[in-house]
């Protein structure tokens, strides 16, 4: 995927207690932790492998906005298996957008194709949902293309259902 909305200035930060702590090792050998700048090469390689487009500058910008020193309602985690990064998830809590009370948004989740079906995506989503919960929200949403059957099926398998919103667009040409 990744899919990103624009940043919004003047955000109110969540209390210190909402800051995620690195997760404990998962039972199936997947370890999820906060991203570090040293991880970017591997993340860029995974994204390039999946999307076919290398976007180095974009990923450094994402790290700046969502990485380790970002505001406390933004989250960027990586999943390691055997010490190697195999996937990542990015999201944030957004307040009162689209007329919605504060809720968590997952903007991007990717798992290296060779590692899929091993619980990496599940561990990443669980970690970011836990982080959202700690900020006090009780809902998580995402948005993706309706022909993206693979990722749609993944989110469905995690219990996500259609939200009470309809995305609309207009050609401006």
């Amino acid at each position: 995927m990744p899919i990103f909305n624009s940043d919004r200035p003047g955000r109110r930060e969540a209390p210190e207690s909402s800051r995620p702590t690195p997760a404990a090792p998962e039972p199936d050998g997947v370890h999820v932790r906060l991203v570090q700048v040293e991880d970017l090469d591997r993340i860029i390689a995974i994204d390039t492998h999946v999307t076919g487009v290398e976007k180095t500058d974009y990923w450094y910008e994402v790290f700046h906005r969502y990485g380790a020193r970002s505001p406390r309602q933004r989250f960027f985690f990586v999943a390691e298996v055997g010490g190697e990064i195999e996937g990542y998830v990015i999201g944030e809590v957004r307040d009162w957008e689209f007329g919605s009370p504060p809720c968590g948004w997952v903007f991007g989740i990717t798992v290296r194709p060779e590692t899929r079906l091993g619980g990496v995506g599940t561990a990443l989503l669980k970690t970011i949902c836990d982080a959202f919960r700690r900020t006090g929200v009780s809902k998580v949403r995402t948005l993706l293309a309706r022909d993206n059957q693979l990722v749609l099926s993944f989110f469905r398998s995690q219990g996500m259902m259609a939200a009470p919103f309809i995305p609309l667009e207009l050609d401006l040409a």
């Binding site: 307040d95 009370p101 398998s157």
Partner: protein, 150 residues
């Protein structure tokens, strides 16, 4: 969106069989549970067998067993065996070849596309989780925390 009777029977049968893949389930048992004609159900099960989604065993204790991959098989895969719910042109929808008919056809196509995307994104495994949730008593709704607008 209303699915044809055969399609519904197929979905019931697949979900019943997949909920207990080690067990052979008799067609009569499904027919009785859903109050449907055993004859009609037998035809549906034969179609599912031809598609490799269930396999049958004859004789005493015979019945049908789920033989698909529940984590890969989607509702759409089952539906497509019995009916075509793909988005159609206004003419195919039976809309008259007029501006109004064309515009209405676009709206109906949009609905069809969303329905297809939904059916294509839900696997049998995910459906079984939803069935399990439906069995459990509903929890009281939690209210959103009070927070000031940013």
């Amino acid at each position: 969106m209303k699915l044809q009777k055969s399609t519904c029977l197929a979905l019931y049968s697949v979900l019943e069989a997949a909920s207990n893949p080690d067990r052979q389930i008799a067609a009569a048992e499904i027919a009785e549970k859903y109050g449907v004609s055993p004859h009609h159900l037998a035809k549906v099960l034969r179609e599912l067998g031809r598609a490799g989604i269930v396999e049958s065993a004859r004789g005493v204790g015979g019945g049908y067993r789920f033989s698909g991959n529940a984590k890969r098989l989607t509702l759409m895969d089952v539906i497509e065996i019995f009916e075509d719910i793909s988005a159609r042109s206004p003419e195919e929808e039976g809309e008259p070849a007029t501006d109004v008919g064309s515009a209405l056809g676009r709206v109906l196509s949009e609905i069809d596309e969303i329905a297809r995307a939904t059916f294509s994104s839900i696997t049998i495994d995910t459906m079984l989780k939803l069935v399990d949730q439906a069995r459990r008593p509903a929890r009281p709704a939690t209210s959103q925390p009070e927070r000031a607008p940013a």
